[in-house]
């Protein structure tokens, strides 16, 4: 029994970095209806930026953190402004191709500047510290990550539910023309959303970097975060987070009790099954448009 609970706890811990990537993708998808495959590499760039200013300029982590997040924000806004807005008469397919192209460019830049070898990100919490709650062990870093995920989810929820900016985001997503007729500067809303989403992704990157830091570090979290977001219906913040935790748990149970080799694949098998049974995602609120 203890083993089983331990497996679940580790699953949730693993799921929390997927959750951050999922949240970031949902944010963009909600306003632009694009699954942003450059999300992972935006986070990668921000993480290596933090690494660079800490290594080269000797900044402390707590100084580097706001710098890296600002960098992520600007990079997100910049990409939206420079590339995606230029896409005239955008259709989903071409937008996806554009985000994949951006992803490759960012990946190439990071590999070229920093090399492909494993780095060590200075971080205030050692990835080897762990805590025991009864007989259950969880690494301190993972515990922090879980709390960060929940805090960010709550903050985003409050933003969307109660702030004027949140209302503008939802209005723009649902009906851009009508939003503009309300005086909402739809382009600016889109731009800010990309910045915000890039920040959320960068937080994921910064929390992953202490254990794993090389140019491909965001691949797995990105794909699984995307999978989690799809499970959650692609537009629901709590849906993406629950999907991510669920994915982490299932993956871990499968890895512990059935087969460790196929652990990475099981996530995608589940997505395929879920999408076959319930294409709108597990947690999507159903809304049928009146004709």
């Amino acid at each position: 029994m203890i083993d089983f609970i331990q497996t679940i706890v580790s699953g949730i811990a693993a799921g929390s970095s997927y959750a951050l990537m999922g949240l970031a993708m949902v944010l963009i998808y909600k306003t632009s209806e694009v699954p942003n495959f450059a999300q992972g590499e935006l986070a990668l760039a921000a993480s290596f930026f933090a690494y660079m200013i800490m290594e080269s300029f000797g900044l402390s982590f707590f100084l580097a953190l706001p710098c890296a997040l600002s960098f992520a924000f600007l990079l997100g806004c910049f990409l939206e402004f420079l590339v995606l807005r230029r896409a005239k008469t955008p259709n989903i397919l071409s937008m996806i191709v554009i985000t994949i192209g951006l992803e490759m460019i960012l990946l190439g830049l990071v590999s070229w500047k920093f090399g492909a070898d494993q780095k060590t990100m200075p971080f205030p919490i050692s990835p080897y510290d762990s805590m025991a709650i009864g007989n259950i062990f969880i690494s301190t870093l993972e515990l922090v990550t879980v709390f960060v995920v929940l805090a960010i989810m709550a903050a985003l929820y409050l933003l969307l539910r109660f702030s004027k900016m949140g209302l503008a985001m939802k209005a723009t997503q649902q009906n851009t023309m009508a939003a503009r007729l309300m005086g909402i500067r739809a382009n600016r809303v889109l731009n800010l959303t990309w910045g915000l989403s890039s920040v959320v992704g960068a937080i994921a990157g910064l929390l992953i970097a202490p254990t794993l830091m090389h140019p491909y570090m965001m691949w797995d979290p990105l794909l699984k975060g995307f999978a989690a977001a799809v499970m959650g219906g692609m537009t629901s913040l709590p849906g993406a987070v629950s999907g991510a935790f669920l994915l982490g748990i299932i993956e871990n149970i499968f890895g512990t009790y059935i087969s460790i080799e196929f652990k990475a694949v099981v996530a995608f098998a589940i997505i395929v099954i879920i999408l076959c049974i319930k294409p709108s995602g597990l947690f999507a609120r159903h809304y049928v448009k009146k004709v």
Partner: protein, 255 residues
């Protein structure tokens, strides 16, 4: 208040508005009538800056300042609001959130709350449905919401595109009586309609649009007395000639 001079609007190569001029005085109601595809919606969208890089020719002045080719967001801030054809409410926002979105350009929360309550007194049904998603409202309720939402920015000029479309006669009456109230509160109104009778009964002046042009203009009384308007827009049939003959004659008279 609004002064449009000789504008032309193109969709790629299709010219949908061909040299329209229009003067709207403050506190008036202007009706624009015409059949499907005449270019009425295109005219309103051009005023609102919703068609990119249009008008191709001509100028639009609002309160003495040029607004043609400005951003929609900017035009709304100058005091024009638009109730688009087909309502275009935010379907997955509640009625209240829709109204709040309508007040996006305003700051004072107390006054905004006051105005939301005013909308609820205009349309009591919206008050009852305040926490319901707009997409779950009936067509008539959505139209009321679209009008209420357009009021929330406290516009000087309000453009309405076929507010009676698809509504039952009772609802049409209700909508028109609210438009009257809004006008009495000091809002200038441009009303695009296919329901000519109702529109002319409300308006001071009217224009008839065909193929992107105004083909007839006059006070409401003049238009209601016009033989062709009676036959083709008010449904009063003359019994001397066949329809085909009248059609031909009408073209002859108006071009």
């Amino acid at each position: 208040m609004l002064n449009i001079k000789n504008i032309e609007t193109y969709y790629d190569l299709i010219c949908a508005v061909r040299g329209v001029s229009l003067r709207v005085e403050a506190k008036s109601i202007t009706a624009i009538l015409g059949n499907n595809g005449a270019g009425k919606s295109t005219l309103l969208k051009t005023i609102m800056g919703l068609i990119e890089d249009q008008p191709d020719k001509g100028t639009i002045e609002f309160c003495g300042e040029a607004i043609d080719r400005k951003d929609t967001e900017e035009i709304v801030r100058r005091g024009i609001s638009f109730v688009p054809e087909g309502r275009e409410v935010f379907e997955e926002l509640t009625v209240r959130e829709n109204l709040l979105a309508g007040a996006f350009i305003r700051k004072n929360r107390n006054r905004i709350d006051g105005d939301i309550n005013t909308v609820y007194t205009y349309f009591p049904i919206l008050g009852k449905r305040r926490n319901q998603w707009a997409g779950t409202l009936s067509g008539g309720e959505q139209q009321m919401l679209a009008i209420g939402r357009a009021l929330m920015s406290r516009p000087k000029l309000m453009l309405l595109d076929e507010p009676s479309l698809g509504l039952s006669p009772v609802l049409v009456k209700e909508i028109f009586s609210i438009i009257k109230t809004i006008h009495a509160d000091g809002v200038t109104i441009i009303l695009v309609e296919q329901n000519a009778k109702m529109a002319l009964s409300l308006a001071d002046t009217g224009y008839i649009m065909e193929n992107g042009r105004f083909v007839l203009a006059g006070t409401s009384a003049e238009l209601m007395d016009d033989e062709n308007v009676q036959e083709f827009y008010l449904g009063v049939r003359s019994d001397t000639s066949s329809k085909g003959y009248q059609r031909w004659k009408r073209k002859k008279v108006w071009r």
